[in-house]
């Protein structure tokens, strides 16, 4: 499969994007907590990346399916479903008026997500390494 390395590279990049976006959100929330940011800026910054993050995650999930990586697909599916549900309920954005009340929960949610993405990152990294190394091995 000549395409595989390319796909894995794409997965890898997307995963890094997800991690970056999540870290960005966590940083915004911590800044808010520490009073470096006001709630208006903080929530508008977070809200501006929430949907992109969901889209990237959704695309990643779909790509896993399309490229036949079913285990990876199953791994990311719950998250995608959860995102879709949040979006349908219009609860995906941070409510600027009540941001402090939900601060802890939002932070925890994002930390869990970050952990999940990191796990995914490791898996993707290993898979892509295997994918890259295999051809070399076979050549040898």
């Amino acid at each position: 499969m000549a395409w595989d390395p390319i796909f894995w590279l794409i997965f890898f990049v997307m995963n890094i994007i997800l991690i970056a976006l999540t870290i960005y959100q966590i940083v915004c929330l911590s800044d808010l907590e520490a009073d470096y940011l006001n709630p208006y800026d903080s929530s508008s910054r977070i809200n501006s990346v929430v949907v992109p993050e969901m889209v990237v995650q959704g695309v990643l999930c779909a790509l896993f399916l399309l490229t036949g990586n079913f285990y990876m697909f199953l791994l990311t599916l719950p998250n995608a479903c959860y995102n879709a549900r949040l979006f349908m309920k219009q609860q995906h954005l941070i409510d600027v008026t009540e941001v402090f009340r939900s601060l802890d929960a939002e932070k925890k949610y994002r930390l869990i997500k970050l952990a999940f993405y990191l796990v995914l990152f490791v898996v993707v990294l290993i898979s892509s390494l295997i994918c890259f190394i295999q051809p070399i091995n076979s050549i040898e």
Binding site: E33, D35, Y40, T97, F100
Partner: protein
């Protein structure tokens, strides 16, 4: 701020495709008919005054979307006149488009306008060809008339009457000595309350027993509930033997008692009675000597103020239940303990004893926190002193920023001071230095209010300003659609505004502006150089813009005559308006654009459901099916995120929105109210407003809103000592950071509640200090900081926490929590949460004493919380939490919820347990010597039994009066008060002063009641006994101790609580 400048944002962004498109929306118009007459011609054509270099407007405009349609419709309407774009707002951009305008501006308008002249005229040409009343015609919500279905008052009476009739079995059958002292204690306790006396006469056999015992106890008459002073030792000694006797037969107590109950077939429910006395009788310090004495006394004596067990059987006599007939009683002992604390009108803790450990907190099931009313009205002579440090700068702790206060200590012979909150040693500035005397007191203590008073106000130096102090600013956003016109609201509002112009705070700096709206938005140019206001109509709702950058918001003193002309003409201008639409959202945005430069107070008068443009709402309050489901709460929260976003933006720009909602139909108060909630505003709701009936109420409340002393662009923070932290805040404000409350406007009628938690598992300090600091701009443009400081002891015992509990603060926090809960859960769950907390708290309390004492079947509760069960009951029956779909209209429920979220403690308690007084005797009597309210009125328990058919009663909950006429009331009284109307339907009769002494007396009395609480106007509702459904709605449903519509009565409630306490004890 610059970045969000609204005008900049969109004016330039509009490409001007066609000239027409640009201006279509705006017509300069003359205000009203009268004007049009003579001076119209002179006036209208008047091209822009010199400085407004006629920048018409076209370029600004082409609303992209609208351009296709609109030009056709109003080809004529570009008169957009002057456009002095000089305003800071449009600043640099304006010049670019100015030139294009000039040519076109005026002509068309002159043609077009004259015929219609008035604003109402706007109809003809500015409307779209499409039907005037688009699809959104609102069907009246199917909610039935208030009184109709909801209440079933008749039921209540019979049920109630049974309660007392059950003879007091306990007392008859009391074989053991144990109970006798109890009952005697009761009677001695209640003896001082004459209104309760009669109850004893019912008790037949027990009567004389009580009598004798009572006399035996006469030695302690002074120790009735309110008295906190310690009884002299002698008395206590005398008392002990009694108790000993009483305690001597304890084993006999409970058992026979129980069995006797069984005999009577009564449920084994016990409740409090003889409550309070014992602990008051207990000498505080007499613990040790009482060692040998068993039982209650011992325990109580070891606690300075402790539990008060009492016992009831099922035939519980409702008359002996504790009732807050004296209204809000603030805990006095605490204030005496810390005389330098801020007065309880400013800050109240739910318990003045702070628990020292997490485990103690977790056993205190009631809310732990404070209720703060930073600007509460102080009686004459007790005003908060103002301190000006001038160049010295305000003395604050370097580390924690605490303001200097009476609890700081000076050391190092006065050169250093130690912060009481963080214990840091700060240097005393040279200018502030004063030597210490021998006792360590500063020698200038008496001249420095900040070192002797808990509440002071500092004048803030320039470092406390991010911008120059704003002027006071009032902006009016008035709905002029047909329902507003018909209800007469516009007339009343205009009159009131006019009458208040002289009294607006802020003297010569006050700014004022107006927008009216129906399906279009009308701006008013009230520039001081004009003789008459000029109206501009914008009909492009999708892309709203402000036709004039200046002159929509003007200095009141300069433009006084124009403003008056506008206010005078407002009602007549719209009297023929038949527009049913309401473009509320776009109008709100327009107001925001105009106000965002300065901030200020936005007064919104909304009469119909917003139906056009952004923020349009739909009917959703009439769906009975949603009740009881998981989605129930959604109808109590705003549906459209637009309103929350708008509220957040308002707060950001220091705008406070006060919403006046009038409607006879569903108005979605849940959505409108959110504007007030997050901007430190207030919601006023006038269901089915009719100016004939509600005029006075609106006038009074609007006038108070306009003229009361207001603090502008405020922020509030509450600091507290190490180890304690405020975690959640409840009220009308928006949090700007974790502990900073942004309050665009604050006044004396708003209170904020907060909950605190311990950060560490153990508190090591002896005292915890709290400091509330409110930084604000006063109406005269001075930056001020109001600081309230309070100290509270840290305790290690739960009993002490209970002893120092403050029912008022607890109820206030509890109600806010419950209302917040009702916004995300079902009403049922919100009510259950109240009950659950109460039960847990009382069970915990019981467990404190259950081990050493034979509490048996009695319900015990602390003296300090004796009213809590009743308040919890009334809270469950209050408008925001009562019943379900049919019990309260949705709008009313939401409005009451928003109101309670901002209500100070004493007003909340009054609302929860209104006063009921009988006045016919007072009216008949000859002139009373003293007009003291207290002498005239003895508050009665809120049950139907208090109402005597031959009496005349006033029911006062702080928001309205209900005057109840008994069936057998002497006709002369009714005739005197009501004139010839006294036989007709009272819903059509209004109370007015008549020419006789009795009527004058009544009016004087009402006047006095109103003066007690001026924050709302209590309008009178007359009710005749037996006149249904009116009586049920106004009176019977509000007799909170009775069983109404499926909700428990007081006795049942107590029994229910007791049962639950015992279930899992």
């Amino acid at each position: 701020m610059g970045t969000e400048d609204p005008n900049r944002a969109y004016i330039p962004s509009r490409p001007a495709p066609s000239p027409f498109a640009a201006t279509q929306g705006i017509r300069p118009n003359i205000l009203n008919r009268p004007i049009v007459g003579p001076d119209a011609s002179a006036f209208r054509p008047t091209p822009p005054p010199p400085q407004q270099n006629t920048t018409p407007f076209s370029s600004s405009g082409p609303a992209e979307s609208g351009s296709a349609i609109k030009p056709n419709m109003h080809p004529a309407s570009h008169p957009i006149t002057p456009f002095s774009s000089s305003g800071p707002v449009s600043g640099t951009e304006t010049p670019e488009f100015r030139p294009s305008y000039s040519a076109r501006s005026i002509t068309p308008s002159t043609n077009a306008v004259p015929p219609q002249s008035g604003p109402p005229a706007s109809g003809p040409f500015q409307r779209f060809p499409s039907p005037q009343f688009p699809s959104t015609i609102q069907a009246p919500p199917p909610q039935a008339s208030p009184a109709g279905q909801q209440f079933f008052p008749p039921q209540t009476r019979p049920q109630i009457s049974t309660a007392p009739t059950g003879p007091p079995p306990t007392i008859n059958s009391m074989p053991s000595g144990a109970n006798i002292p109890n009952s005697s204690v009761d009677s001695s306790i209640f003896a001082p309350r004459p209104n309760l006396q009669p109850s004893f006469s019912q008790m037949g056999p027990s009567n004389f027993v009580r009598g004798t015992m009572q006399s035996a106890y006469q030695a302690y008459p002074g120790k009735q509930p309110p008295v906190v002073t310690q009884p002299p030792p002698v008395k206590s000694a005398a008392f002990v033997p009694h108790q000993e006797n009483y305690r001597a037969s304890p084993p006999a107590g409970p058992t026979p008692y129980l069995s006797s109950q069984g005999g009577f077939g009564a449920p084994p429910v016990a409740t409090s009675t003889g409550p309070f006395s014992r602990e008051q009788m207990r000498p505080t310090g007499s613990g040790p000597p009482m060692g040998p004495v068993q039982g209650l006394i011992e325990d109580f004596s070891s606690l300075t103020l402790g539990s008060v067990p009492g016992s009831f059987d099922s035939g519980l006599d409702p008359k002996t239940l504790p009732r807050p007939l004296d209204g809000d009683v603030k805990p006095k002992s605490f204030a005496e303990m810390y005389p330098m604390n801020s007065d309880s009108r400013y800050i109240r803790l739910t318990t003045s004893a702070i628990p020292n450990s997490q485990s103690l907190v977790s056993r205190w099931h009631l809310p732990l926190g404070a209720v703060v009313c930073p600007l509460a009205e102080a009686p004459v002579g007790e005003e908060v002193p103002v301190v000006n440090f001038a160049s010295m700068g305000i003395i604050r702790c370097r580390r924690c920023r605490t303001y200097v206060n009476p609890y700081v200590t000076f050391t190092d012979s006065g050169r250093k001071w130690k912060c009481n909150i963080c214990a840091l040693l700060n240097d005393v500035p040279a200018e502030y230095y004063a030597p210490l005397d021998a006792t360590g007191r500063r020698s200038d203590l008496d001249q420095r209010p900040e070192l002797s008073k808990g509440s002071v106000e500092f004048v803030a130096p320039p470092e406390y300003m991010v911008r120059p102090p704003m002027p006071t600013l009032y902006f009016f956003l008035i709905d002029v659609s047909v329902s507003a016109v018909r209800s007469g609201m516009i007339q009343v509002v205009a009159e009131t505004i006019k009458s208040c112009l002289d009294r607006l705070p802020g003297s010569s700096r006050t700014q004022i502006g107006f927008i009216t709206y129906d399906s279009t938005i009308h701006f008013y140019n009230i520039k001081s150089s004009l003789t008459q206001p000029q109206m501009m109509v914008v009909s492009d709702l999708d892309d709203i813009f402000v036709p004039l950058p200046d002159d929509l918001l003007v200095n009141l003193s300069e433009s006084r005559s124009v403003v008056e002309a506008l206010v005078d003409s407002l009602p007549s201008m719209f009297q023929d308006n038949v527009n049913v639409e309401s473009a509320f959202g776009p109008a709100l945005k327009a107001a925001f654009m105009i106000m965002s430069q300065l901030g200020g107070k936005l007064l919104i008068f909304q009469n119909t459901l917003p139906s056009l443009g952004v923020g349009r709402l739909r009917l959703r309050g009439d769906d009975i099916r949603v009740y009881g489901t998981d989605k129930e709460h959604t109808i109590r929260i705003p549906e459209d995120p637009f309103y929350k976003q708008m509220a957040a933006d308002f707060t950001k720009y220091q705008i406070s929105a006060n919403v006046y909602a009038f409607s006879d139909k569903y108005n979605d108060v849940a959505s409108l109210g959110i504007l007030a909630k997050y901007t430190g505003g207030q919601l006023y709701y006038y269901p089915s407003f009719q100016s004939a009936i509600h005029k006075e109420k609106l006038r009074h409340e609007l006038a108070r809103d306009l003229t009361r002393e207001t603090a502008w662009e405020a922020v509030m923070r509450i600091r507290c000592g190490k180890g304690v932290r405020f975690t959640s805040y409840h009220g009308n404000f928006m949090l700007r950071s974790t502990d900073l409350l942004a309050l665009p406007a604050v006044d004396c009628d708003k209170a904020y509640a907060m909950q605190l938690s311990l950060e560490d598992t153990l508190l090591t300090t002896q005292t915890v200090y709290f400091q509330v600091a409110l930084l604000y701009t006063s109406s005269n443009g001075e930056r001020r900081i109001r600081v309230h400081t309070m100290a509270a002891p840290v305790v290690a015992e739960l009993g002490e926490m209970y002893r120092q509990a403050d029912t008022g603060a607890i109820v206030s926090l509890l109600s806010r929590l419950a209302i917040e809960k009702s916004l995300s859960y079902k009403l049922e769950e919100a009510r259950n949460s109240i009950l659950l907390r109460l039960v847990k708290a009382l069970r915990e309390y019981r467990n404190l004493y259950a081990v050493q004492h034979r509490v048996g079947n009695r319900m015990i509760y602390p003296e300090s919380l004796r009213f809590l069960p009743l308040y919890a009951l009334t809270l469950c029956k209050s408008t925001p939490l009562r019943g379900g779909y049919g019990d309260v209209q949705l709008d009313e429920r939401c409005a009451a919820g928003y109101t309670i979220m901002a209500l100070p403690v004493n007003k909340l308690l009054k609302l929860l347990y209104p006063t009921l007084v009988r006045i016919d005797e007072h009216l008949v009597k000859a002139l009373p010597k003293t007009d003291e309210l207290k002498n005239i009125c003895k508050a009665l328990p809120l049950t139907a039994e208090s109402l005597d058919a031959g009496g005349l009663y006033i029911f006062d909950d702080g928001f309205r009066f209900v005057i109840w006429f008994g069936k057998m009331l002497s006709p002369t009284i009714a005739m005197n008060l009501l004139g010839d109307d006294f036989t007709t339907d009272y819903s059509r009769v209004s109370l007015s002063e008549r020419d006789n002494e009795m009527s004058r007396k009544l009016m004087r009395l009402l006047q006095k009641f109103r003066e007690c609480d001026p924050s709302y106007y209590q309008s009178c509702h007359l009710v005749r006994q037996g006149e249904q459904p009116r009586e049920g709605f106004f009176m019977l449903a509000n007799l909170v101790e009775d069983q109404v519509g499926g909700m428990n009565g007081y006795v049942d409630w107590i029994q229910q609580i007791h049962r639950q306490i015992q279930q899992n004890a």
